[in-house]
Symmetry: C2
Subunit: 394 residues, 2 copies
C-alpha cells in the first residue's frame, strides 16, 4: 500500500521508461515515443535531452526520410559506448559477452567447461582482455550471470552443487576482475539459468507480448523459468522454478537431489541416453540420439518417444497449475521436443484440463542456446533502466 | 512500459491507498496514516476530507486519548453505510453475506446445497430480503462470488460442471436480483473458490505479510489459490491453480476430468472415505473419519496416514515449483492436514529441495470455512478501493 511518487521520482521513472523502450525496441522516432508512452512532445524532448546529455542515447535524422515537412528525430541507444557484461555458467560450457545497450552483442567468448573445472578464471580472463581493449569513453553499467548449480564430475556424472556458494564465488571473482579497470563497477548480479532464459525470451524472443510463460531448460538436469502475469515467479527465497524436481513417477529412479522419480530422471540427459542404450554425455550426445531417431534408428526412436511422453506428462501438470499461454523448450529439451512433439501433445491433450490447455502454444527459443546469456545481459541492464541518470553517473 | 500518471490520477490513486489502508487495518489515526503512507499531513487531511464527503469514512476523536496536546483524529470506514455482497457456492453449501467496508460481516446466511439444486435462487432471495431491510442511506458498492464448478449428484458422486456457464448464470441472476433495488448496481464479479480464499487469508488472515502463498482448498475435489510475489497467479485465461489435477500417481485411479492419478484422486473426499472403508459424502463424513482416527480406530488411522502421505507428496511438488513461504490447508484439507501433519512433513522433507522448503510454514486458515466468503467480499470491494469517488458516486 505505497502512496504515489514525487515529481522528481516521476521524471526518473519516465527516463527509465523511455530508455527501456529504445533498449528493447531499438531506434525509435520521437513521434512513436510520444504515441507509445502517452507523454506529450515536449516531455519526450526534455527526457531525450537528459538521456543524450548522459551519453545514453543519441538523436539522428531518420535514414529514409523522404516526406515533406520536418522529420521526427530518431532516438538510438548508444550501444557502442554503453554496455554490460553477461555470463552464463552451464553444465558443459561457459560463455561471456560484452553486450551494448539495446542488446547488441559486441564481443562473445565461449569455452567448454571441464569436469570439476574452475568457472571464475575463464570468465574473469575475458573481462580483463576485453577491458584492456575498449575505449576510454565507454561505460560499463553492470554485469549479470546466468548460473546452473549442476556440474559434471570426471566420470561424466552430474551433481547438484551448492548454488549459494557458487553464486557467491562467481559474483566475488567477476566483480574483482572488473574492479581492476572500473573503480565504481556495480557488483555482478547472479540468477538461475532458466529464470534468465525466460526473461530473455520474454523481452526480445519468442515470448514477447506473452504474460504467462514457462521456459523449460534442459542441461543434464531440468529447470524452469516461470513468468506469471508478466512477472517472474521466483518464490520466497528466489529458489522457485525447480520443476525438474517435481515427482512424476513415484516408482521411478533415484534422483541426485535425494528424492525419487523426479521429472528430470525421466526427461534429462541420462534418461534419453539410457533409454537409447548409449554412452556419452552432454548436449552433443542428446543431439546424436535425436539425429539417429530421425535417420530411422528404432532404438533411438523408442527412446525419444518415451522421453517425449514424460516430457508431455510434466508439461500437462504445469499447464494445469499455471494456465500459461506459451511453453518454451530450451537447451537439450529443444531437440527432444522437436523430435517428440506428437507424444508431448498427446499427453497434454489427455492430461490437461481443456480450459487450461486450449490456448497454449508450444515453442522453441528464438535466442537458441544464448537465451541465458541474453537474459544475463537484461539482468545487468536492469539497474540502468530503473534509474538511468543515477546508474550512468556511477 | 507505461509512462507516469497525471496529478489527478495520483490523487485518485492516493484516495484508494488511504481507503484500502483503513479497510484492511481498521480505524487508523491521521498520524499513523501520515507515517505509513509516506504522504504529508496536509495531503492526508485533504484526502480524508474527500473520503468523508463521499460518505466512505468518518473521523472521530480517539477513545483512549489521555495525553496532553491535540489528539490525532481517527479515520474509520463507514462499515454500516457502505457495504458489499459476498457469496460462496461450494459443493455442499451456499453462503451469502452483506459485508461492511472494513470487512465487517453485517448479515450472513447459509443453506445446504442439495444434489442438482439451483444455486441462484437461494442467494438471490437473501439479496431481496436484505435489501428490503437496509436503510435508504446505505450504498452497495459491489458484489463478489466464490464459485466451485464441482457439484454433487443425487447418488452422492461429484462431477466437474461447466465453470463458465455456472459463473455466467450466477452473475446474471444475482445482478438481476440486486438491480430490483439498486439501479446502478455493478455486475457481480465471480472467481474460483480457492483463489478467493487465498486472497482473503492474504488480506486479513494467516498470510498477511506473506508474498508467496499457496492455499489448498479441499471440497470433494481440490483446488489451489496461488499468490506469487504478492500477486495472484491466475494464468492466461484465469484458469490457473488447478493443482488438484496435477498427476501424482501415473498408476492411479481415473479422475472425473478424464485423466488418471490426479492429486485429488489421492487426497479428495473419496480417497479418504474409500481408504477408511466408509460410506457417506461431504465435509462431515471427512471429519468423522478424522475423529475416528483420533479416537483410535486403526482403519481410520491408516486411511488418514495414507492420504497424508499423498498430501505431502503434492505439497512437496508445489514447494519445489513455487518456493512459497506458507502453505495453507483449507476446506476438508484442514482436518486432514491437522491429523496427518507428521506424514505431510515427512514427505516434504524427503521430496522437496532444502532451499525450497527450509522456510516454508504449514498453516490452517484464520478465517476457517468462511475464507472463500471473505475473499468474495474483497473482490467486491476491489472496484471501490481502486477508485473510491468514482465507485461511491455510481
Amino acid at each position: 500500500m505505497r502512496a504515489s511518487p514525487t515529481q522528481e521520482e516521476i521524471r526518473r521513472h519516465n527516463l527509465g521508461v523511455l530508455l527501456r523502450y529504445v533498449h528493447v525496441k531499438g531506434p525509435t522516432s520521437r513521434a512513436e515515443l510520444t504515441a507509445s508512452l502517452g507523454l506529450n512532445r515536449s516531455t519526450i524532448g526534455a527526457l531525450t535531452a537528459d538521456l543524450t546529455a548522459a551519453g545514453l542515447v543519441r538523436e539522428e535524422l531518420p535514414r529514409d526520410h523522404g516526406r515533406t515537412g520536418r522529420p521526427s528525430l530518431v532516438v538510438r541507444p548508444e550501444h557502442e559506448r554503453v554496455y554490460a557484461y553477461a555470463f552464463a555458467v552451464e553444465v558443459d560450457r561457459l560463455t561471456a559477452a560484452r553486450v551494448g545497450l539495446g542488446g547488441v552483442v559486441l564481443d562473445r567468448h565461449e569455452v567448454p567447461r571441464g569436469p570439476d573445472a574452475d568457472v571464475v578464471e575463464p570468465l574473469a580472463a575475458f573481462v580483463r582482455r576485453t577491458e584492456s581493449a575498449v575505449g576510454a569513453d565507454t561505460v560499463c553499467v553492470g554485469s549479470g550471470a546466468a548460473v546452473s548449480a549442476m556440474a559434471r564430475r570426471a566420470d561424466g556424472r552430474v551433481y547438484l552443487g551448492d548454488a549459494a556458494e557458487l553464486e557467491e564465488t562467481l559474483a566475488a571473482g567477476l566483480t574483482a576482475a572488473l574492479s581492476e579497470f572500473r573503480k565504481a563497477a556495480p557488483p555482478v548480479a547472479v540468477r538461475n539459468v532458466a529464470d534468465l532464459a525466460a526473461l530473455a525470451e520474454h523481452t526480445r524472443g519468442v515470448a514477447v507480448g506473452c504474460d504467462n510463460v514457462i521456459y523449460l531448460h534442459g542441461d543434464a538436469g531440468v529447470g524452469g523459468g516461470i513468468i506469471a502475469g508478466g512477472r517472474a515467479v521466483t518464490g520466497h527465497g528466489g529458489h522457485g522454478g525447480e520443476v525438474g524436481h517435481m515427482v512424476v513417477n513415484p516408482q521411478g529412479r533415484g534422483c541426485g537431489c535425494g528424492s525419487q522419480g523426479c521429472w528430470e530422471t525421466e526427461i534429462g540427459e541420462y534418461a534419453l541416453l539410457r533409454a537409447a542404450d548409449r554412452d556419452g554425455t552432454g548436449r552433443q550426445a542428446v543431439s546424436d540420439v535425436v539425429d539417429a531417431a530421425r535417420r530411422g534408428d528404432v532404438v533411438a526412436q523408442a527412446a525419444v518417444r518415451q522421453v517425449g511422453r514424460w516430457l508431455g506428462f510434466g508439461v500437462a501438470n504445469l499447464v494445469n497449475i499455471f494456465n500459461p499461454e506459451m511453453v518454451i523448450f530450451g537447451g537439450t529439451l529443444r531437440d527432444v521436443y522437436l523430435a517428440s512433439a506428437t507424444q508431448v501433445r498427446e499427453r497434454l491433450t489427455r492430461m490437461a484440463l481443456p480450459a487450461c490447455r486450449e490456448h497454449v502454444r508450444l515453442r522453441t527459443p528464438d535466442l537458441a542456446d544464448d537465451a541465458p546469456l541474453y537474459g544475463a545481459a537484461e539482468l545487468a541492464f536492469e539497474r540502468l533502466l530503473a534509474d538511468p541518470l543515477d546508474a550512468a553517473a556511477a
